[in-house]
C-alpha cells in the first residue's frame, strides 16, 4: 500500500486537517499567552502595557479562584461518579430479559439529545423551583419544607442536572460493552460456583473496564468545560458557590471585559486541562492498542 506516490498523496490529503488544527491551536494559544501579560481592558481605551505576571497573581490570589477550582473538581468528579455508577446499573438492568426493551432504552437515551440550555432551564424551573417545581410540590404534598435547590445547594443541583444529561451516554456505551460479554464465561463462572456478586466483580466489571475508561475520558473533556448549565441557572452564584473555572474566566473576560485577566485564567485552564489530558491519554493510549 505504500509507494512513494501514495505516501506523497497521503501527505497532501492530511495537510489541510493538520494545518487547520495547528492554526486553531497555535494562533489563539499564542494570543492568549500574549494577552495574559498585558493590562488590557476592553472598556479602558489606550495602550496595553506589559505587566508581567500581574494578571496571574491577581487571578490566582482572588479567593474566587480557589472556590472555582474546588467547584470544577467537584463538578467533574460528582458527575463522573453518578454517571458511571448509574450507567453500570442501567447497563445491567437493560440487559435483563424484559418486554419493550427498545422503548425503555429510547427513554433512557433521550436526555442526551437535549441541549444544555434547555435541560438546565427545565430542571431549574419545572423541577427544582421551590414554589412551582415538581419536587417542591411533592415535598409539600408530603408535608415537608421544599428545598430551594438553586439557593441552598447550587453546585449539587448543577451536578444533578449535568449527570442527567450524561447518564444516557454512559449507559449506552456500557450497555454496548455489556452485550459483547461472552455469556458462556458467565455460565462457566456459575458452574464454578461463583455467586452473583463475585461474577459481577470478577467477570462483568473487568469486561466493562475498557468501556468505563472511554466514558471517563470523553466525559471529562466535556465536563471540564461545563458552561451553559451554570449560565442559565445560577450565574455562578449565589456569590461564587457554583462558579467553575470556565465560568470564572467567562466572567473576567466577557462580563468585566478584562482581557488580560481572562487570558491569564485561560492559560491556567489550559495547563490544568493538559495535566488531566496527559493522564487520560496515557490511559486511552494503553487501551487503544489492547
Amino acid at each position: 500500500m505504500a509507494t512513494k506516490a501514495s505516501r506523497a498523496a497521503a501527505r497532501l490529503m492530511i495537510s489541510p486537517a493538520v494545518l487547520l488544527l495547528l492554526g486553531w491551536m497555535i494562533v489563539p494559544l499564542a494570543l492568549t499567552l500574549y494577552f495574559s501579560f498585558l493590562r488590557y481592558n476592553l472598556i479602558t481605551p489606550g495602550a496595553h502595557p506589559f505587566v508581567g505576571w500581574e494578571n496571574y497573581y491577581w487571578f490566582v490570589t482572588d479567593p474566587s479562584f480557589k472556590v472555582a477550582m474546588v467547584n470544577t473538581l467537584q463538578l467533574v468528579g460528582g458527575v463522573l461518579l453518578i454517571t458511571v455508577v448509574g450507567g453500570v446499573i442501567f447497563a445491567l438492568l437493560l440487559d435483563l430479559p424484559m418486554f419493550g426493551q427498545g422503548i425503555i432504552r429510547i427513554m433512557v437515551i433521550a436526555p442526551f439529545f437535549v441541549m444544555p440550555t434547555v435541560s438546565a432551564l427545565v430542571w431549574k424551573n419545572m423541577l427544582m423551583n421551590p414554589v412551582n417545581g415538581i419536587f417542591g410540590q411533592i415535598a409539600k404534598a408530603f408535608g415537608f419544607q421544599p428545598i430551594d435547590f438553586m439557593g441552598q445547594i447550587p453546585l449539587l443541583s448543577i451536578i444533578l442536572i449535568v449527570s442527567w444529561q450524561w447518564l444516557p451516554f454512559a449507559t449506552l456505551i456500557l450497555f454496548t460493552a455489556m452485550q459483547s460479554l461472552d455469556r458462556e464465561q458467565l455460565e462457566a463462572a456459575e458452574m464454578d460456583g461463583a455467586r452473583w456478586p463475585s461474577r459481577f466483580i470478577y467477570i462483568v466489571l473487568p469486561h466493562l473496564s475498557r468501556a468505563i475508561t472511554v466514558v471517563i475520558l470523553i466525559q471529562t473533556i466535556f465536563l471540564l468545560s461545563v458552561f451553559a448549565e451554570i449560565l442559565v441557572t445560577t450565574n455562578g452564584g449565589p456569590g461564587t458557590a457554583s462558579t467553575n473555572l470556565t465560568y470564572l474566566i467567562y466572567v473576567s473576560s466577557l462580563l468585566q471585559f478584562d482581557v488580560g485577566m481572562g487570558s491569564a485564567g485561560g492559560v491556567i485552564a489550559i495547563i490544568l486541562a493538559n495535566i488531566v489530558a496527559i493522564f487520560l491519554m496515557r490511559m486511552i493510549g494503553k487501551n487503544l492498542d489492547a
Binding site: 486537517a17 424484559m98 423541577l127 468545560s225 442559565v232 486541562a273
Partner: protein
C-alpha cells in the same frame, strides 16, 4: 444458553427497569405536557396539571411571535449541518491517509489531533472573540460554522479513521489496479463502503453541534443565534412563563430528539467513538 425465563420474571424486570427509565425520561415528558397548558394551569399541582383543564396550543404561537423560532431553527440547522459538512470534507482525506497509508508517526499524529480537543474552549475564548470582532464575523453563521467545524474536526477524523481501518486495504488496492485515480478510489469505493460509519459520524456531529452551548452563546447575539441562544433568552422569568418555556424547549429539542431516536443504531456506534465494540 437459552434458559427459560418465566413471564413473571420478565414482567417484574419490565416494571422495575421501565419505572427507572420513565423517571429519567420524565422531565422531557413533563415539558411536553406543560407546553400544551395555559400559563395559569401549568403551575398547578402535578395531578391537576394532568387531569385539569386548560389545554391549548397557544404557547407555541406565542413563542414563535415573541422570539422568532424559525429564524433560530434555521440558524441551528445551517450551523450544525454546515460545520459537519465542511468537517467531513477535510476529515475524509485525512482519515484515508492515516488509515491506508500509515506511517510511523500516524498514531502520534492522531493522538495530537485528539489532544487539541482537550484544549478548553474557555482558554482561547478571548482571542477568538477578539479575532472574530476584528474580522467582523461575530454573530455570523459562517463564523460559527468555522468554529464548530474546528471543535469537532478531531472527533470526525478519529471516528472516520476507526471506521476506515475496518475496511480491507486490498479493496482499495484492487481499485487502484483497476485504474481508479485517488479521487475515484475515495469517491466510488471507499466512501460507499464506509456509508454506515460516515452516517454515524455525521449524526453524532450534528447532535454535538446542535447542542453546543459555549461558542454559540458567546459568539452570537441576534442575527446568527441558534436555538441554544433562543432558549437562553428564557432564563430570566417574566411573570407566568412555564407553558411558554416548555413550548420553546420542546421546539428546540424536538428536531434533534426525533433525529436521534430514528437513527439510534448508527448513533450507538458513533457514540462509542469506535472505542467499544
Amino acid at each position: 444458553m437459552a434458559r427459560a425465563v418465566s413471564t413473571k420474571t420478565k414482567v417484574i424486570n419490565t416494571a422495575i427497569v421501565g419505572t427507572l427509565g420513565f423517571l429519567v425520561f420524565f422531565p422531557i415528558l413533563w415539558i411536553a405536557i406543560l407546553s400544551f397548558k395555559t400559563e395559569e394551569n401549568a403551575i398547578r399541582a402535578p395531578l391537576e396539571v394532568l387531569f385539569g383543564s386548560g389545554w391549548t396550543f397557544e404557547s407555541y404561537f406565542t413563542v414563535q411571535a415573541r422570539s422568532d423560532y424559525f429564524k433560530h431553527f434555521s440558524n441551528s440547522v445551517i450551523i450544525s449541518v454546515g460545520s459537519t459538512f465542511f468537517g467531513l470534507l477535510i476529515a475524509v482525506p485525512a482519515a484515508w491517509a492515516m488509515a491506508f497509508v500509515p506511517a510511523k508517526r500516524t498514531k502520534d499524529l492522531l493522538m495530537w489531533m485528539l489532544s487539541t480537543k482537550m484544549l478548553p474552549p474557555v482558554g482561547v475564548l478571548v482571542p477568538i472573540y477578539l479575532i472574530f470582532r476584528d474580522l467582523g464575523i461575530l454573530d455570523t453563521r459562517s463564523g460559527l460554522v468555522f468554529v464548530l467545524m474546528m471543535m469537532n474536526l478531531p472527533i470526525i477524523i478519529w471516528m472516520l479513521y476507526t471506521y476506515f481501518k475496518e475496511i480491507p486495504g486490498e479493496i482499495l488496492e484492487a481499485a487502484r489496479m483497476d485504474g481508479a485515480t485517488l479521487r475515484e478510489e475515495i469517491l466510488y469505493v471507499l466512501t460507499p463502503m464506509a456509508v454506515p460509519g460516515i452516517a454515524s459520524t455525521v449524526l453524532l456531529n450534528i447532535i454535538l453541534a446542535w447542542n453546543e452551548a459555549f461558542w454559540t452563546l458567546n459568539l452570537t447575539a441576534a442575527r446568527a443565534a441558534p436555538l441554544t441562544q433562543f432558549i437562553a433568552s428564557y432564563s430570566s422569568p417574566e411573570g407566568l412563563f412555564y407553558a411558554k418555556l416548555s413550548a420553546a424547549s420542546v421546539m428546540a429539542i424536538a428536531p434533534i430528539l426525533i433525529l436521534g431516536w430514528f437513527s439510534q443504531k448508527q448513533l450507538v456506534r458513533g457514540l462509542t467513538f469506535g472505542a467499544v465494540k
